[in-house]
Amino acid sequence: MYRYDDYDQRLIEERVRQFRGQVERFSAGELTPQQFLPLRLQNGLYKQRLAYMLRIAIPYGTLAARQLRKLAEISRRYDKGYGHFSTRQNMQLNWPELHDVPDILAELASVQMHAIQTSGNCIRNTTADHFSGVAFDEVEDARPYCEIIRQWSTFHPEFAFLPRKFKIAVCGSAQDRAAIHVHDIGIEIVRNDRGETGFKIMPGGGLGRTPVIAETICDFLPKQHLLTYLEAILRVYNQLGRRDNKFKARIKILVRAMGIDAFRARVEEEWKVLKDGPNTLTEEAIAHAKSFFQSPSYSALDDSAAEATLAREVAGNSAFARWLKHNTARHKQPGYAIVTLSLKQTGFAPGDATAEQMEAVADLSERYGFGEIRVSHHQNLVLPDIRKEDLPALWRELTAIGFATPNIGFLTDIICCPGGDYCSLANAKSIPVAEAIQRRFDDIDYVYDLGELDLNISGCMNACGHHHVGHIGILGVDKKGEEFYQVSLGGNQGKDASLGQILGPSFSQAEVPEVIATVLQTYVDQRTEEENFLDTFRRIGLEPFKERVYVRA
C-alpha cells in the first residue's frame, strides 16, 4: 500500500481547510450556488434527489483495513450506516449533511483518504485492475503507475477546469479487468520485443450518450515519458475540446472529430515541448512508487497439499464447492487464492455494504490476509491474499455476513448504478430492476448453465452502470414521464471490447425479467456446446433475439 509522507499529508489537510472555508463562504452567501457548485464537485459532493451525496476516492481500488474501518465509522456517524461501492472503485455516501462534510473530509485525511476530484470537470480517480499485483497473468503491477498518476493529477493547476470529466484506467494484465477501452484514456502495460515494459496509450473511449471504443495513439510509450505524454494529451484536449455543448465535450468527441491521426499529430507537437522536460519520470521516482507495492511476506506453501485439503472439503459441501469454483481466482503465489466478495446478494442494492459488513471485512482481511482490500469496478470487494487452506473458514465467515453469494461473473452479479432511487440525473430506477432479475433467476444451477454473463444496468444515458459494455445491457429511459427500459445485447468490456446493439422498443419495468428470460432462452436454444452468450451473439447476431422477444407482443 502507498503510505503518505509529510508532503501528501500536508496537501490533503490543506484541502480540508480550503473546503471548510468554501462551505463557510457559501453558507454566508459570499459564494453563489453556481460558484460553489464546481468547488464542491471537486470534493466529490453532489446534490441528489433527496440529499447530498459524497463520493470518496479509493485510489485504484486499494484499501487498508483501517481505511475500511474508517469508512464504516463515517457511514455510521454521518450517514445511515451504509455505503455504496461504485463502478469507479469509489465509495458513495448518500445522506451526508453539508455542514458535516468538512469534518468527514478531516476524518478521511486522518487515514490518508480524501474525496478530491471524484467529480467535476477534472481528472478523476484513476482506476485499475482490482487484481493488480496478485494476478498470475500480469506483465507488471499497475498500482505504482496509478499512484504516480494520482499524484500528478491531484490539484493539477492546468487541468482542473476541463471541458468535461476525465477518467483514466490502467491495466497490467493479459485480461483487461479495468475496462480500459471505455475510458478517456486507457493505459495498458505492455512488453516490447526487447523485454522492456512500457505503455500502450488509448485515448477517446467512453460510455455515456455516445459510447466509443478507444483507439490507440501510441503502441509503446517508454515508462519515463508517462506523465509528459499524458500532459500533452490533456493540454490538447483542454484547448480544443468542445465547451459549447456538454454532451459533446468529452475527449472521445474530439478524437473522433479530428480523427486519430490528426489528434496524434497534435499531441506529438505538444509533446515535443514537454518531452524530456522535468516531468520526465526518473528511475528513482518509479522505484520509489514500486517500493510501496512489493509483495507481502508470503509463506512458502505446498500448493498441492492445500488443493488436497480443498478437495476433501468440496466433496462433502456443495455450497462451498460452488463458491470455491466461482468466487476465487488464481493467485500468482502458490498456495494462495484471490477471493471476491459478492456484494450482489438478492435483496440488497448491488455494491452496497453496511458499516457492520465493512468492519467484518476489515477484520477478515487482517485475520486471513495482509490487511488489504480491493474494490472492483464490478462493485464487489476483493481479499487479494488468502491461503487456500483458509478458504473453508473464510467462506463460513463470508456466508455469515452475506458476502458469499457464489455468482461472480454470472448473470446475477449485476453491475447497477444507484439509479432513480437516489440520483437526480436518472430517468428510471435501476436497483429494483436488478432485484427483479435476481429473483427471476434464483435457480443457481440455471445461472451456471448460462455461463459467464455480464448484465449491466444504468438508470440513464450517463451509463454509470456500464450498460453499453454488458453482454446484456439495460438502460432506463423516460417515455412521457414513465420509466421504461431499453435492452441491448452484445456489449463487452474486455480486450475485444464491443458496444451493445439495441434490441428494439423499450419495455416497462414489469416486463424486463421475462424479456431477459426470452433472450437467455434464445441463446440456450442456439448455442453450441463451447459457446458463452457473447460468442453465440457474435455468431448469430441480433435478429434471432429480436424475433423471439417481440413476437410475444
Binding site: D5, L11, P38, P157, A160, Q239
Partner: protein, 167 residues
C-alpha cells in the same frame, strides 16, 4: 469591496491598477495611458501601437497565445479572459506563454474567474489578477492555499518526485 479605484492583485498584494483593459476600442480611438487592447485591434494597428510607451493585448478564451508569438517582446502585459470560470483554456495559455514562449512580462487574468482559482492560475504563470467576483483583499489568502504542488509548474519547475528525498 476595496477602496482602491481599480484594484489589482499583483505579485501577492492588492495595488491600484495602472492599466485600462479595453474590451472594445472606442470609436474616437485609444485613451491616454497604458491600455490593453483586443487581439484583433492589435493585429490591425500594430505599427502605431508599438510607438506607445506601454501596450498590452488581451486574448479571448478561443485565442491561443500562438497568435502573439512574434509580438511578445513588444508587449508589457498579456491578459487572458475567462468568459466563465468554468472555461479553463486560459490555464493552458498561461503555461504556454511562460514555458513555450518564455514570456517575461505580466500575464494577467481578467473576466469571470473565481478567488478559488487564484492558486492554480498563479501556478500556471499568471502574476496579475483583475478579480471581479470577490473582494480582492479577502481573496489574497487563496493565492497560497496549498504549500506544495505535485506537478512541475511555473512557480516550481521541478515536480515533487524530483524534490523528494528518497531513501
Amino acid at each position: 469591496m476595496s477602496e482602491l479605484n481599480r484594484p489589482l492583485i499583483k505579485n501577492g498584494a492588492v495595488v491600484e491598477d495602472q492599466w485600462q483593459v479595453l474590451r472594445e476600442v472606442p470609436e474616437q480611438g485609444l485613451p491616454e495611458g497604458a491600455v490593453i487592447v483586443p487581439l484583433a485591434y492589435w493585429q490591425e494597428h500594430r505599427a502605431e501601437l508599438v510607438q506607445r510607451e506601454a501596450i498590452g493585448v488581451w486574448l479571448a478564451s478561443d485565442q491561443p497565445p500562438a497568435a502573439l508569438a512574434e509580438d511578445l517582446p513588444k508587449l508589457a502585459v498579456v491578459a487572458i479572459d475567462f468568459p466563465a470560470f468554468t472555461d479553463g483554456r486560459g490555464f493552458s495559455y498561461g503555461r504556454a506563454l511562460r514555458e513555450h514562449y518564455r514570456y517575461q512580462g505580466e500575464v494577467r487574468a481578467i473576466g469571470q474567474f473565481l478567488q478559488d482559482q487564484l492558486h492554480y492560475l498563479r501556478r500556471c504563470g499568471f502574476d496579475a489578477f483583475a478579480l471581479e467576483t470577490a473582494d480582492p483583499f479577502k481573496a489574497l489568502s487563496s493565492l497560497e492555499v496549498f504549500s506544495e504542488g505535485y506537478q512541475a509548474s511555473i512557480d516550481q519547475p521541478l515536480p515533487l518526485f524530483r524534490r523528494r528525498a528518497y531513501i
